[in-house]
């Protein structure tokens, strides 16, 4: 456990570990009757054949995943799913010296890690702003520090780093004269919306990774659909990363609530929802 509510585990999945790239995700089921839960890939070790996943307890299914002990098995693990980050298709020399700003919120720290690591290894300049409610909820601090040039921490209550929101820290950095060629924001949908609003004026290209509702994660169900640039897109196969300035965040936020009544009642088993 990284915090009382967030756990990290290495999962043995050789084919998946061999194929995973930054930006992609996977789906797990914790038991035969379990839901398919999309999770971001935090790291992968091709030699050991393992992938690292980070899960936060937010409901019945994530609690089940976090309750697994070392040596136990998930019922299913499938991936990698989704498209790798765009920069993966660029040659290393094109990335060398490029200035990246990552904004990570809460659990969004996990998927930022492999991206920052990939870029840092190829000589990109990487700054990361990490936000959490309190110091206790900050995760992977040492790992993050090891794959970037500057790590800036923000907490809502001031218990660590900057006292305030990540958007404020981003504004401060820009005001101090930090320049960036590209930005990536991953975290709660509402945070990504406000980072997008914050950076809009600057002209810095911004990519967000959308954590929509999914069932199969392979393009079959369409419940992950979102509007990007006025077009309906499937986050699972066309994303999860999109140009932030084209995303309809209000719709995405609303669509995330589709199964909320059922999710909230999942613990006392009344999951057939009424509109």
């Amino acid at each position: 456990m990284l915090t009382p509510s967030i756990c990290l585990m290495d999962v043995e999945a050789p084919r998946l570990a061999a194929a995973a790239l930054p930006g992609q995700f996977l789906i797990v089921r914790a038991r035969p009757e379990g839901e398919r839960i999309p999770l971001t890939i935090c790291d992968y070790d091709r030699a050991k054949g393992t992938v690292t996943i980070v899960t936060q307890i937010i409901g019945a299914s994530s609690r089940m995943i976090c309750a697994l002990e070392e040596g136990e098995c998930l019922t299913d693990v499938v991936g990698p799913l989704g498209c790798p980050s765009d920069f993966v298709s660029e040659p290393a020399e094109a990335l060398h010296g490029r200035r990246f700003l990552f904004v990570a919120g809460g659990l969004g720290t996990a998927p930022v890690y492999p991206q920052a690591k990939y870029l840092h290894e190829r000589g990109a300049l990487v700054d990361i702003v990490v936000g959490a409610k309190t110091a206790d909820l900050l995760i992977l601090q040492e790992e993050m520090a090891s794959v970037c040039d500057h790590l800036y921490v923000c907490t809502d209550d001031g218990s660590a780093g900057h006292h305030g929101l990540v958007t404020e820290k981003v504004k401060l950095l820009l005001a101090e004269g930090h320049g960036y060629d590209q930005a990536v924001a991953i975290g709660p949908m509402i945070m990504m919306k406000f980072v997008t609003l914050t950076l809009k004026e600057t002209g810095i290209p911004l990519v967000v990774s959308l954590n929509t509702i999914m069932v199969d994660g392979t393009g079959m169900c369409g419940c992950c659909r979102i509007t990007v640039g006025g077009r309906v897109r499937f986050a699972c196969v066309e994303g999860p990363e999109f140009n932030a300035y084209e995303v309809d965040f209000d719709e995405a936020l609303r669509r995330q609530t589709m199964y909320r009544p059922q999710e909230q009642e999942a613990d006392h088993k009344c999951k057939i929802g009424r509109g």
Partner: protein, 461 residues
């Protein structure tokens, strides 16, 4: 004598009862009923039913065995041409195929070929199945992408010929559309689908679930690095279509694929399942195919009041006649010649209604089909809190996108010849991935033809 008895009715669950459960609707024939129904077959010398069966099952021959009470022999006759008779007996559109061409149907009712096929398959399964001959292993590995009807058929034929076959399935359960698409009340999973898949496994076929071909491994990896000599792509047509009308992103608008996957694959209707499902008080299902009927009847069983909205007339409904009949019996309302123009929502973004326009059939178009045209000024609203779109599906582009030299046409279907050969040597394809959404039996036939073509290809290489 044959004309004297009418078609033997099949026993079914009472509509009022089955509207509240997921048990199979149709009980099928017992031995006595099967013998009686089989006695109606005229054993035509030039059987039109065989011509109209996509896989050419020797229908009069298997029925002759049933007449004689030799059910195991009947199963053997069917097994020569079909590897999924218990499935096809339940889901084939018999009225447009074998039964639609039965000579008895000219003046009366055709022989219930589908029900007899189902009887034989169920009897055979309960009595140990059809013994199969399997050639000794030839050491050649063939990969099959997708464990739906075409993949299962292709894999079992190749295994019988001695190939070492591995099926890669993206979902956590094998069966493809049989598992995620067709509901329990029409095609029981534990009793029918799983034994059919087990019989493919019994031939030595390996099924690896949770493998996304195109992501976890590519077809190039399978051929170049994992030692497979050929690949069959039977990845189906799983991508749902939407209408592109305003309001489709409101909360409460779903694809039939989502709704059915939650219910069928994830068993969201069962209390022990963790997967949630959204059930409206009043649901509109848009479309007229089998998937629309399945979604409508699933919603009904979960407690919704359901209306099917279809832009043509009853005559054009593409669904199996039996499903339409069952849906009506169960209390589903049909609104024909009706097309949605907008989905209405409240200020919080949840569905409140479906705005539709009335249609009329216009002049026949180039294909001879009368296409529906809107009646100006005839818009009206149906109050609903959930809309399920069942407008058809397209092939998933992932495999074509990640395989070098694999040609597709403009709808995303893989280009393959009659035998399944694609533009890439060693890669064959069949089923919905090639044709777009069609039927189980057509996919099965394509899988079998491809197996023969793969065998010929590997023998000559």
């Amino acid at each position: 004598m044959a004309e004297k008895i009418g078609r033997v009715p099949v026993r079914e669950q009472d509509p009022a009862v089955r509207a509240h459960n997921f048990e199979e609707v149709c009980y099928g024939y017992n031995e006595e009923e099967a013998l009686l129904e089989a006695s109606r077959c005229l054993s035509c010398r030039n059987p039109r039913c065989v011509e109209h069966c996509p896989v050419g099952i020797s229908i009069p021959s298997f029925i002759a065995e049933v007449k004689a009470g030799r059910f195991a022999e009947a199963a053997g006759v069917i097994a020569r041409d079909s590897s999924l008779p218990a499935v096809c007996g339940r889901v084939c559109p018999q009225e447009t195929q074998c039964e639609g061409s039965c000579i008895l149907g000219v003046k009366g009712e055709p022989v219930a070929i589908g029900k007899l096929e189902r009887f034989v398959a169920d009897w055979s399964r309960a009595h140990g199945g059809v013994p199969v001959e399997k050639a000794p292993s030839n050491g050649l590995k063939v990969a099959v992408v997708g464990s739906g009807p075409s993949g299962l058929a292709c894999a079992s034929d190749l295994a019988k010929l001695g190939y070492e076959v591995t099926i890669f399935e993206v979902l956590h359960k094998a069966g493809g559309v049989l598992q995620y698409g067709i509901p329990e009340f029409r095609l029981p999973k534990e009793r029918v689908v799983e034994p059919e898949i087990d019989s493919v496994r019994a031939l030595g076929v390996r099924i690896e679930t949770n493998v996304v071909v195109g992501r976890t491994v590519t077809i190039d990896d399978l051929l170049d690095r994992e030692g497979f000599s050929a690949v069959f792509v039977g990845s189906g047509a799983g991508l749902p279509r939407f209408m592109g009308i305003p309001g489709e992103s409101l909360n409460g608008v779903l694809s039939a694929n989502e709704f059915l996957t939650r219910s069928n694959l994830m068993k969201a209707y069962a209390p022990e399942s963790d997967t949630p499902i959204f059930v409206g008080r009043r649901v509109a299902v848009v479309g007229g195919g089998n998937v629309a009927m399945d979604a409508a009847r699933t919603a009904l069983r979960l407690g919704s009041e359901v209306t099917i909205v279809y832009r043509r007339t009853e005559k054009e409904l593409p669904a199996r006649a039996e499903e339409v009949h069952h849906a009506r019996e169960e209390g589903i309302e049909f609104r024909m010649l009706t097309n949605p123009v907008e989905i209405l929502g409240d200020e919080k973004g949840w569905v409140t209604g479906l705005r539709c326009i009335r249609m009329e059939l216009g002049e026949p178009d180039a294909s001879g089909r009368r296409s529906p045209v809107p009646v100006p000024g005839s818009e009206f609203e149906i109050p609903v809190d959930e809309v399920i779109m069942a407008l058809g599906t397209s092939p998933n582009p992932l495999i074509a996108k990640t395989t070098q030299g694999l040609e597709t046409e403009r709808h995303g279907c893989i280009v393959a010849d009659e035998a399944g050969a694609t533009s890439r040597p060693g890669v064959f394809a069949g089923g919905d991935a090639v044709t777009g959404a069609a039927t189980v039996i057509l996919a099965l036939g394509a899988g079998r033809r491809a197996a023969a073509a793969i065998d010929a290809y590997l023998r000559s290489h």
